[in-house]
Symmetry: C2
Subunit: 514 residues, 2 copies
């Protein structure tokens, strides 16, 4: 193995690290990527098996607005498959399944108060999210108020109906793989800000879950690694120490290999940085930050069936639930419709609760839930069950992304992507667009690469952060609120209306009788 | 070095690990303690220097109710020095110092509303703390409500006066080295529960800060290590991996040494467990727990002066402040009055803010603050300045203890001290009395030791958790609320009173005129 001194060493061959390396190599830099696992891809991971061809047990979905991942996928010639939302969606609540047409209606069991309250909460969240500066959420006018509270405290203070709390809990689990009580309200809002709003982040069509890659998401990393070329990505290299001097950085791995470079980029989840011995030590604020950057809790499951039985029952395969073991499902099959499966996320406290079971026991829990949700025993007889518990992945620590607790963004956030001497920080958590997504991983990696180019005098400071042009192939279309959504008042608003009306009627009556 | 197989290996030669080892050795077990640092003591650390004889730059204070540390200190023949609270205390607020007699009065600048509001908050906190089961705070009737909120959200929802928020902020910093926005309200309350109430934990006389050890707190660990004997405590052994099999545990250090034992006890801060590779891996819930157990932020400072100038000005040396760089100070001198100094805690966000300065710059900030607080330029001319930034201590990660964010206790707390196969967990954070204190460290260590004795069939299950008899030398006396404290209503209570009175007067007047 060549011991030449490189320009830049990147730790982590996920999408972020590889994007950094690739940008740097394109600018003539000699780069080396060190990866702890025996594969590239990080939190994207595509299994290959004749039983299902390929399967994305990690990051999967992309959609309009995510212009960087769309750009890279196009360059690598990767095709898309649309996520199915045709047919009826199922809401599973209090042990009962209720089917409805997600595009044009809501579950019938919801009352007018439920709808008003949910509508109010959603509109407030979207309005608040717009107040947050993407690059500096800690500077939002109400940053310290929102960061002092969890999503749960906000719900408890704001919402009147149990249904609203359940719906926002599902959103927390779906978007952050975390519980409302574990998430800073500011962090939750910021995640919505950097994803272009709640509707964009939560939607399938025209939203973040619109499509996935034919052949799997790990192709992005494999493609980037391929472009870097042999000898520029070393697998099975677990970094144990990083030593900085005036001249450069010396990186040592667990098995004693030593690599030298002028600069380094860390593109691993920050919670893992505690494992690496830094000389000189990381500064106090950074040490404390990495102690409170827990990753989300998720077990991604795939239950394969002989046939797409939900289609015959006029179901899309989408089931969402707060009390069920799986917070959200999608239909998963190959572009030709083969290998039909239900993909289900076990998230947040459900993931932790069921993580103590065996795989067989979890499979049973999942199938029994699907049988109730779809109303058919056919769900009890899968032909295959595949899962990945991301909490057990030593070199991720959890998925999909960091779950910032209350107080972290405002107290420690400023140092998150601050370089330390010759060490720079990438990873999707340091993005300011689509933070937590594959798209954010690319933004963060390319930005970190350009920070080094700037440091070397190759580009100006203004060029470090670059806007990505809107994709012409997959443009983000605006969302129209339905008339109902715009006109529906909140529960307190409605009560005020009722009281005002009642008072006026009473006043009229009194005036009449006097 | 002997490679014989031990009964038990303990990781961490702080008070907790050494207490575990000592109890086990007393029961005939062959123990080995592996310590990463070049000293024992962990978060207690006594510097020796002719300039000040000795100095506790880590854990220091003990008081009545802490019967375990009192027992061990007695056994080791360690003497006490009382902490001084005689003379006037200083409250520093909005850039101004105000002296008052802490025992019999309050700062004069406080209005009746300030006092009512603070009294209400303090009484609520104490009443809530009593509702929490010490061994299982997650089972408190209102556990999920309190764990979903931070101390700051509770303050914002409950307190009417800015002064109350400042006072509770000082308490959070003083007791947890953390900010109200970073602490779960449930965790904050539990800390008070396990310390016998707010007054006990915050007081000097009859409280947790009543006394300190002549010669320093590290003597506890040195004494315990001495009793274990040579060859039973190995310094400079940084554990890198722990491998469990059916027969026992194999512990490997960074420099390649391998040790074997039947059982293991981890007595290091949980946030550091991420650095150790466990085979088999830690279970998901534990992996996620250790990602959200950040340690507090503190720089402990000592500013030495030629003479005890505050005494001449009739000050005790105690200054507390929310806006100043130092949240709380005590006089620090040797039992004979020599080496007079002011000990000051830079805590929470202040610690992080000032951590980026040089030591000389921090010294200047501290002295200028003392000059304003004590109202004398003499404070600007120290003869020595000693500090320890605990955030930079690689094998602590911060001090004094863990600062649990919202949602962690209820979501992850149950697995905190759950043994994993042959591995048991000590450390003050796993105590259910005086958690976070030296006393809790002993309780946790001895309990972990007895868990192994029980596993080996040497004691019964009932004997694992043992009550500690009340010390006869240093008994905990009850506190009497002052009459003012008992009778003072809260601000809302007062307003209700005012409104009721006004209404009655008005009703009387109306009745009179009709």
């Amino acid at each position: 193995m060549s011991k030449e001194k490189r320009d830049v060493i990147v730790i982590g061959a996920g999408i972020s690290g590889l994007s950094a390396a690739r940008l740097l190599q394109d600018q003539g830099q000699n780069v080396l990527v060190l990866e702890a696992r025996n594969r590239v891809g990080g939190r994207t991971y595509t299994l290959k098996d004749p039983a299902f061809q390929y399967l994305d047990v990690g990051g999967t979905y992309v959609g309009p607005g995510q212009n960087r991942i769309i750009r890279v996928a196009k360059e690598l010639g990767i095709q898309y498959q649309m996520v199915n939302e045709a047919r009826r969606t199922i809401s599973f609540r209090n042990g009962k399944a209720e089917a409805f047409d997600m595009k044009n209606s809501v579950p019938k069991s919801l009352g007018i108060f439920d709808l008003m309250d949910l509508n109010n909460a959603v509109r407030l969240i979207d309005a608040y999210a717009k107040e947050i500066p993407v690059a500096a959420p800690w500077d939002a006018p109400r940053a310290s108020e929102w960061d002092s509270m969890t999503v749960q405290s906000w719900l408890d203070a704001t919402c009147w109906c149990q249904y609203t709390k359940e719906a926002i809990t599902i959103i927390c689990r779906a978007s952050n793989a975390s519980e409302p009580c574990n998430l800073s309200f500011l962090f939750f809002l910021w995640g919505i800000t950097v994803g272009g709003g709640l509707t964009r982040t939560m939607s399938i069509t025209n939203g973040a879950q619109e499509r996935k890659f034919v052949g799997g998401a790990m192709q992005i990393s494999e493609g980037l690694a391929g472009k870097l070329g042999k000898g520029h990505v070393l697998l099975n290299h677990v970094v144990s120490s990083v030593e900085q001097s005036d001249d450069g950085v010396k990186v040592t791995t667990q098995n004693g290999d030593v690599f030298e470079a002028s600069y380094m980029i860390s593109a691993v989840p920050m919670t893992l940085l505690g494992r690496i011995t830094f000389k000189p030590r990381l500064p106090s604020a950074k040490i404390q930050l990495i102690q409170c950057m827990p990753m989300g809790s998720v077990i991604k499951t795939f239950t394969f069936y002989k046939r797409n039985f939900w289609k015959d029952l006029d179901y899309s395969g989408i089931v969402f639930s707060c009390d069920g073991p799986i917070s959200g499902t999608y239909e998963d099959c190959k572009p030709d419709g083969s290998h039909p499966a239900i993909m289900g996320f076990m998230n947040g406290e459900k993931a932790r609760k069921y993580s103590s079971l065996t795989k067989e026991e979890r499979k049973k829990v999942v199938c029994e839930y699907y049988a109730k949700a779809f109303g058919t025993d056919e769900a009890l007889h899968p032909i295959n069950y595949v899962e990945l518990n991301w909490m057990d992945e030593e070199f991720s620590g959890g998925c999909y992304m960091v779950s910032l607790p209350a107080g972290v963004l405002t107290q420690f956030g400023r140092v998150m992507r601050e370089p330390l001497g010759r060490v720079y920080f990438a990873g999707t958590e340091t993005a300011d667009q689509w933070m937590g997504y594959m798209d954010g991983a690319i933004q963060a990696g390319e930005r970190a690469g350009r920070e080094i180019l700037h440091q070397k005098g190759l580009i100006s400071k203004d060029e470090i952060w670059q806007e990505e042009p809107e994709s012409l192939d997959i443009p983000a279309k605006p969302f129209d609120d339905s008339i109902v959504e715009r006109l529906l008042p909140s529960v307190p608003g409605f009560l005020k209306l009722v009281v005002t009306a009642t008072t006026l009627v009473a006043a009229g009556a009194i005036a009449f009788f006097l």
